[in-house]
Amino acid sequence: MERVMRDKKAAAIFILPAFMLFTLIIIVPVVMSIYYSTLDWNGIGRQTFIGFSNYIELLTDRDRFLPAVYHTFIIAAASVFIQLPLALLLALILASKVKGERFFITVYFIPVILSAVVIGQLWMRIYFPRGGLLNTLLINLGFMDPTRPTAWLGDVNTALGAVLVPILWQYVGYHMLLYYSGIKSLPPEIYEAARIDGAGFWQTAFKITIPLLKPVLQVSLTFCVVGSMKVFDLVRVMLTDGGPSGSGEVITTLMVRRMFYPSNRYGYGSAMAIILILMCVILYQFVAHIFRDRDKNRKGKVRYE
């Protein structure tokens, strides 16, 4: 077995297609962007080399960039601590032989399927100040003064929170499907044993399922954290230009408006992109680090060193 698996030619054949494609589409553009980030350039005309000026300008921009970084981290934290536990809970329930399992799994995934335009438009109707679903509800329950309805997406204090809810909600089904398929591919004998030992739902979940689910949890946590850094569509649809006074601005929405229309500062926008890439890489490594210790125990079983 070891000899077979050390076949270098086979390894090269297996890795090559992905490697070529990836280098061409991802790595080359990253390298180009690093170069662009040192330029004063509108994307079309003359390029002027300005060294690290773009980075310095960004890291001292207390008005726009740093708040956008802060908002992005809030979204990431909320996703990890609200979205993922909810998704895991749903997956655990649905995998524990609930009637209508297929129906629920399918329905819970629907928001993931819909385009951001639909989701964004729907939530804008929900948040609509005059006669929107949320305000109508609050007024009827007596929590809101009908003459002074809250403009959820238009208020400096509520815009970020208002856009956060649909972001969390839309992707619950996504992580749920990951967990669910992970749970379903665990050997059923383990559960047999647990049942015979008289373990309850929570016991089984915490003692058996979740530890065995570690690889999938790592995948999902990585997607969640790194994906939050890059969140764009819903924020763009629901807040257009970053919300009132930039109170809902995230890194990507700012980057796009700086890079293209209306600012046209391609070099400056590229610097923002490079900072974003670095943040993602660091967070990826951080998540990998959290899970590394557990991996070591299983190493002997899987690897051949």
Binding site: I44, D63, P129, A151, W152, D241, G243, Y261, P262
Partner: protein, 423 residues
């Protein structure tokens, strides 16, 4: 193996589709010897001008044997990114629609636009009203032709005014008085959106024109005026905007509303005034509009102590067509641009810039005629700042405006930001 079956079905479907599209795509190539001009624009199926655009292109193809225009329609927002990328990569169509002044300046500076001067000496220039091409002239040469002029101002719901017992205002005092009455009648005096910054920007720029005076504003945004934005009258305009907001004359949910939503609300009869460009006429007088027949139009009222004349307006001929410097058929492309712009201004929803064009008022919305009438004696126009200023200056201006209308910065701070554009 089930998976195999799924894949083989997918593959089979794929092949059928490829064959199908292969057939579909066959028809687009030109007949041998024909010059094919590729033309990109943003007047797709949902646009008010779509039918007119199609008709003009078909007419051109019919009347110009040997030349064939192949057209692609794009979505407005994506187009702004797409066209820049395409121009940067020299992958742009022969003729494409764009915006003059600040938007197309980088194209000109990078040498991507065809100089049209030599093609316009056939009497074309005489057919245009003076100043019509201002925003397509870079360094004294013409690089594009415009389709027509748009003007911004207040659309008035006359029924809301009548019900509130208010008069249509011509001065600031009258505006305040009317707003108070409308507010008391339970309606919103002025409807706008600050979520899309250019919308409230238009209103603000209308106020600046009346406070500072059109010629001074033009010189300032052109960075040619002494003192520029430092003029205290700019601060005066900012303070007046603050006054409208503080008194509740502008809808308090402006930061939550998109322009579509603000427009729908005005059409619903929720507000007395709505500040927007003249392209909105047909939407307001559409058969489905709830305020059809009750719409009037006024420019922003005069401001006490302001230097703007009642006949100073905001607007300009900023929508137009340019030719790529890389086109293989400059002659034919220029001919098409001339034909298209002149004829679309007859068919489309724009104020005329061609003196050869007679507009049939009978088929136009009533309020459109009101705007033509009101602007007949125009003394001067100021173009919308966001289309005129360079990219980074737009950002400074719009960010500061956004912060001011949301109460994050004061009027003085807003004024300081403006001075950063041109001290």
């Amino acid at each position: 193996m089930k998976l195999k079956r799924v894949f083989s079905i997918l593959l089979a479907a794929l092949m059928c589709i490829s064959v199908m599209t292969g057939c579909l795509s066959g028809g687009d190539e030109g007949t041998d010897g024909d010059i094919v001009l590729r033309f990109w624009n943003i007047w797709g199926g949902g646009d008010a001008n779509h039918e007119a655009v199609r008709k003009v292109i078909n007419d051109f193809n019919a009347s110009h044997p040997g030349v064939r225009v192949v057209v692609e329609y794009f979505e407005n927002e994506a187009y702004k990114t797409m066209i820049r990328t395409a121009v940067a990569g020299d992958e742009v169509a022969d003729v494409f629609s764009t915006w003059g002044a600040g938007f197309s300046r980088p194209f000109y500076e990078a040498g991507k636009l065809l100089n049209l001067d030599e093609y316009l000496n056939d009497g074309t220039l005489d057919k245009l009203y003076g100043g019509a091409l201002n925003y397509f002239i870079y360094d004294d040469s013409v690089y594009g032709l415009t389709i027509g002029r748009n003007v911004s101002g207040f659309f008035v719901n006359t029924k809301v005014f009548e019900d509130a017992g208010a008069e249509i205002p011509a001065t600031w005092e009258e505006l305040v008085e009317a707003s108070e009455k409308i507010l008391a009648s339970g309606k919103i005096p002025i409807m706008t959106s600050s979520r899309e910054r250019w919308v409230i920007g238009m209103l603000f720029e209308g106020m600046v024109t009346k406070a500072v005076g059109a010629s001074k504003v033009n010189a300032t945004i052109n960075k040619e005026a002494d003192g520029g934005y430092s003029d205290p009258l700019f601060l005066e305009a900012i303070n007046r905007l603050g006054e409208l907001i503080d008194n509740g004359f502008i809808n308090s949910d402006r930061a939550a509303l998109t322009r579509d939503e603000a427009l729908a609300s005005f059409i619903n009869g929720d507000a007395g005034l709505y500040y927007m460009g003249s392209w909105e006429c047909s939407a307001l007088e559409d058969d489905s509009s709830l305020i059809k027949g009750n719409v009037d139009w006024i420019p922003f009222p005069t401001i006490p102590g302001g230097k703007g004349a009642p006949t100073d307006f905001n607007g300009g001929a900023i929508d137009g067509l340019v030719v790529s410097a890389n086109t293989a058929h400059p002659e034919a492309a220029a001919a098409f641009v001339k034909y298209f712009t002149e004829n679309l201004s007859r068919e489309g929803d724009y104020m005329p810039v061609w003196n050869t064009v007679e507009i049939d008022m009978a088929i136009r919305p009533a309020v459109f005629a009101r705007i033509i009438e009101a602007t007949e004696n125009a003394t001067d126009y100021v173009i919308w700042w966001d289309t005129f200023l360079d990219g980074d200056d737009v950002t400074i201006y719009q960010d500061a405006l956004d912060r001011f209308v949301n109460g994050t910065i004061t009027a003085e701070q807003f004024h300081e930001e403006l001075k950063k554009i041109h001290p």
